[in-house]
Symmetry: C4
Subunit: 216 residues, 4 copies
Amino acid sequence: MSDSHEVTEQTALTPKRIEALHDGVFAIVMTLLVLELKIPEADDSAHLSAELLKLLPVVIAYVVTFANLGIYWIGQQIQFHFIERSDRAFSWIHILFLLLISLLPFSSGLLGLHPMNQIASMLYGINLIAVGLVSYGSWCYATHHHRLTSHTINNSFVKNVKRRILAAPFVALLAILLSFVSVTGSLLLYLLIVPYYIYPGRVDSLWRQKAVPHAH
Amino acid sequence: MSDSHEVTEQTALTPKRIEALHDGVFAIVMTLLVLELKIPEADDSAHLSAELLKLLPVVIAYVVTFANLGIYWIGQQIQFHFIERSDRAFSWIHILFLLLISLLPFSSGLLGLHPMNQIASMLYGINLIAVGLVSYGSWCYATHHHRLTSHTINNSFVKNVKRRILAAPFVALLAILLSFVSVTGSLLLYLLIVPYYIYPGRVDSLWRQKAVPHAH
Amino acid sequence: MSDSHEVTEQTALTPKRIEALHDGVFAIVMTLLVLELKIPEADDSAHLSAELLKLLPVVIAYVVTFANLGIYWIGQQIQFHFIERSDRAFSWIHILFLLLISLLPFSSGLLGLHPMNQIASMLYGINLIAVGLVSYGSWCYATHHHRLTSHTINNSFVKNVKRRILAAPFVALLAILLSFVSVTGSLLLYLLIVPYYIYPGRVDSLWRQKAVPHAH
Amino acid sequence: MSDSHEVTEQTALTPKRIEALHDGVFAIVMTLLVLELKIPEADDSAHLSAELLKLLPVVIAYVVTFANLGIYWIGQQIQFHFIERSDRAFSWIHILFLLLISLLPFSSGLLGLHPMNQIASMLYGINLIAVGLVSYGSWCYATHHHRLTSHTINNSFVKNVKRRILAAPFVALLAILLSFVSVTGSLLLYLLIVPYYIYPGRVDSLWRQKAVPHAH
């Protein structure tokens, strides 16, 4: 879609605008999640406590989804650090990415309301897998023959990011398979994804050593 | 409204702020669409599946509207690449544009709830036509005698963008007319608009060849 | 609160961040307004048309409030063009301003639901007056002894902006008084505010002639 | 997590993006609060007034929470003035911070609906404490051995900010304890937090005297 650097660098479609749309959508999705927490109407303290306790699975789904949004927001920020240009296809990859991100309040709300239901657990997993695969596609598209990145970007770094991105959809796939045996087991697997990404992995150290020194 | 370049370049109304408001409104509208997906309450898996299937038309309306928002977000981004100044009238054109964009969750939600109803299909088409015409008006106002653009912008490029913008309202008009014969037919026409805009057309190639080389 | 230029220019509270919060709140409020438009459930076309017609007052309140938001968004943008510094008090003035702006979906929704009710009309007017007075206060605070503006800003320009800002709360006050005689009359007065501000008035011409030539 | 300045300054995780996410989340949370104000359906003026009066506790909770959001928005803005770098841990601290901020519409809505209920009052206090402690943790993490700040930042300034941040969670803790004796008393304590932070305290004067002169 872009035959030379001179051409794409003139492009009107900049990564900056995609980042701005990301920040907007992430901020809203993070905040919309809380609307699933319906304020209980019960008047006396005993009833109110009971009603609030019933919200616990929704709260857990809320925190886990918030953490997942954090993972993708940080992950995309790292991707965009190395992306210097954009084009029409790349813009559409990210509109698809944001479509899937904005479905998370629905699929996590469904899981919060029906935590022990296999269909809810599977749909949540499918949503995570779809987000992960589009994120992977974005990185592949941008780095393929340095289409949208600097030429100085390191090959083993590109591969490491790919592996790291694929971890989440892989675990989500395992969780879906596990849900046929145990729904609780699948929920625990979803929880496992979060600490894996929060703990700074090999990507960070590689990136510190070899990444382009003065990228924007 | 602006008699000379020296005058408008002092203006307090910058295209940057309009772009920021665009990003905000698009991010929110994209995300609000998901609120039309009500989480089903059914408890057992069979009922839940049935309830989720009933959401299918809403999901399709959601995806199509999201794609339309993507079309306009990308289209406006290309327009703003060539716009160097703003003025009061241009700001108001874009406030009207955002008013019509923010009506999309309503008209697409209506279509999702009543997919086989002609009135719902017509209102959706009218919304698309109105968005398209205001987008067209924005481009005409900005490019007329290079009011808000650089003087180096190519005339055949300006015309090509105009033609491309008008395609969507034209197809939406056909869809409205078709809805008197077949509502299903009109829905299929709305679907057709999306691939036309995603596939990079003549505008991109013209723009690559002739557009101003160092526009912001 | 700020005794010298050297001091305030070091400030961590920049007008840029206030503008970013403005863009966010305005984008959301503009979009939230549409949530007052409940999608009718009626199935056949005759009922659906009737239900949609019932939404007409809400649609009108929606458009008028959207236009009012446009007025304030453009008005603030012009104010901020001349504001070079910020401080704690100025930040709080704008948090109060945004509090009142974010009440507009409530007061305009109330008016849309009860268009012929005097209380709804008065509350809408009070909201408009409060927004206008805080906007006036912001301009007075910033321009008083050039507290937050450049020293080159013209005195008659400052006064003209003040007069222009006060027009809306003044008309809203008349509308409130008129509501005791005729609620319809008060609604018409609210409608009058919009064209007054959209039509570029004396402020624009003064500002073109005398405003600081290279303000940011 | 970062061993030298050269390393972290290459980082892809910039404070700018965290600030953009902050602005987005704060703008949305500020605006979502108004959704707790349900528009009354009553038709005649007498009933409408009565219904609107019933909303008063929700309005008060709304204003107080808006003020608290203003406090944290301004507080974070001052923090970020001195923060020059970011890293993965700092990003996660702020995702946690925004998670707690986005819970405020729930806990303040709960308090508005059940103003005389001790559980509602305690949950509101716990939310304020959690926000305050994470804000404190962010400042400690960033300033520890100048991890993310300039080396010129003054030690007594760092300490003063810490003390100032801790005031709110300390008062909220007192309010929780007081709620066992008097729920009304605890509500009054929450109100006290607001003027303390709006009134510019010792931090501002210290910061004017000693802060780094040309920090970004």
